[in-house]
Symmetry: C3
Subunit: 270 residues, 3 copies
């Protein structure tokens, strides 16, 4: 049975980039289901794309081919790669670190090839749209059962670009963090996980002082929206494992005046 393809990119939904890739994959693997994980990664933000893909691994069908495209270096010498994990999974995308967090979550990169077989890539190959001409065909061929080593020449997995995440600065009862993203509901997600809270001795704190560029605000620990009064803020570990500030019936990001990349200080409120 055909394997599904899970597709993530920074292409957005306004243009035809995603649809064209779907067309290309449907030609090669007409029986493969394509699951659009998200195409809303902020343009060219490799780190957010990598985090999204890795955080999603527990929910992705185990036989899926992962196709990820956030590719500011398209058309340059950065390589187009297909990676096989030690557990037999496959990932396809640019060699810029985008896939690296996901293959770690999947047990590590076992082997890899550079996508270049002339019966895989579309010819002529655009210099600006490898998603269509290189990555989509490779993902579809793998989903259809083609062997990795027929996609292109083998490359050393130790030479693959691996992402180094921006880590928060953790001190005793204080964390200096960075806003990863604000989502549709205005929830603010920062680069802090439960283990950082624990390391700072903040894991049992009942309320936080959250400081942004425009001042600071006291925010109590919560577990969900419904326990907050209308307009009240709450802090919790979100469904992907990140520390997040939410606001019942409101937009926390707007309220705090923060956006992606901004620094946020987390201290106890008392």
């Amino acid at each position: 049975v055909a394997r599904p393809i899970v597709f993530v990119s920074d292409f957005g939904v306004r243009d035809e980039f995603v649809g064209t890739c779907h067309c290309v994959m449907a030609r090669i693997a007409p029986d493969s289901r394509i699951i659009d994980l998200s195409h809303g990664v902020p343009p060219q933000d490799v780190q957010l794309g990598a985090l999204l893909l890795a955080d999603s691994v527990p929910f992705i069908p185990s036989d899926a081919v992962l196709l990820a495209v956030v590719d500011p270096g398209v058309g340059t010498s950065r390589r187009a790669i297909a990676v096989e994990t030690s557990t037999g999974g496959h990932l396809v995308g640019p060699d810029n670190g985008l896939l690296s967090l996901a293959w770690r979550a999947l047990g590590g990169a076992g082997r890899a090839v550079e996508i270049s077989s002339p019966d895989v890539v579309l010819l002529p190959t655009s210099k600006t749209f490898h998603a269509r001409d290189v990555f989509s065909p490779a993902a579809a061929h793998l989903a259809g059962g083609r062997a990795l080593d027929t996609i292109g020449p083998s490359i050393d997995v130790d030479g693959l670009v691996s992402l180094r995440l921006t880590e928060p600065e953790v001190e005793r009862r204080s964390i200096r963090s960075e806003v990863l993203d604000a989502d549709r509901f205005g929830n603010v997600h920062v680069n802090v996980r439960f283990e950082h809270l624990a390391a700072a001795g903040l894991d049992e704190v009942g309320a936080f002082e959250i400081g942004g560029t425009a001042g600071s605000i006291k925010i109590r620990r919560a577990t969900t929206y419904g326990e907050l009064r209308r307009g009240e803020y709450g802090a919790l570990i979100d469904s992907r494992g990140w520390f997040a500030v939410i606001r019942n019936g409101g937009n926390a990001a707007e309220g705090l005046g923060v956006q992606r990349g901004d620094q946020v200080w987390i201290t106890p409120a008392d």
Copy 2:
């Protein structure tokens, strides 16, 4: 053959919420087609989500499982439910009224369960993303043929939350209505159906005076865009059965200065 799943939510398309739910469902019911009815319900607007789902019933495949998530009470004591209609259809979502208009359109709720079986819900279960951990698995199991009574314990259908719609105030030759929504094309849809027009004696009127907060405007009855001059307004019953103001080559909502929730008065123009 696997049943399709029709999915509606307020998740938008920027974030990965929808994609993650697709992944979860594809693991459980790999052969079920998932149809995204809309994920553009305004955030936390249970009434608009309920209306959209109910208005869509005539077009939804009759064997589909309906999955709807607009869930401001996620993680609180509001129940997660799966409902079987008297005609054998299934609906899955929060017990906040979101499903109630659709099950009425489908012949009424026959029986219901609270989604809680440990081999249905994902563990650990997030307090903020039941769409992923509770609703999607339940919908997928039902689509795959699993029996309703294995999803969780039976609950009394008479105790389910049922939505009461905001009704327009209908008088002789005057209706006080509320804007339900303005769509991509700027069409303004209000909570008035043909029967309200008829009850007010406005069903044969050739032109309306439409009054908003910024004054009123004469608008003739139309049946489609093409019969209007460029920039001209028209009033019609839209494809879902609601009274709507359209504008040829323009944005009626901007022109009238109205948005969702605003009051609009409808009277005859002459």
Copy 3:
């Protein structure tokens, strides 16, 4: 095996228009894959929709039914058509030129019918949403194997509306062009193809002077983002074959101060 349906429209993703059409098609052709090429065509922009569909032809599965809806004349006397190309492909949409560039790319219109069979169109038929009631059913029936001549009465292909594109004004070493679109990344695409550059003697030029309403700017020829300095502009033939201005790590459309429909002059920079 069921044929896929490739769907393009100006419906956007906020409302349920696309999802409702998917529902209708899934009822009629439950085994057909529906590929959403794009629903981000600017509202009522028939020319951009037609170009998008035609430019995508090389990537679309050869057995696909093409369904396109950008339809400012919905509900008027403009016809709803299904066209069979001389090579056996099928296209469905309004007779307003939207399909014409694609059927030319597919070898020309062989025969056509007006969609009107009472067992094809949904009844009652909305005057404002033929995508749901007329086009989607026709596309799905064709994808399911139904013969063209059962969809409605035959019409003369020579009488079909055919689109005349806005052509650039090409002179010796100077082209007066029009902005077709600015995409998610801010890339500016104009109505100039390689053959226009060649006709103007600009195909070998190393740098261009690009003039817009707010002045002009020197832009060097590039092949991809990565060879440009951060913030630098480049000019190239894009992945669809159009002359485009890109900007590394920036938004070319904002930088140039141009938007869709604006005029742009292209001359050599030397």
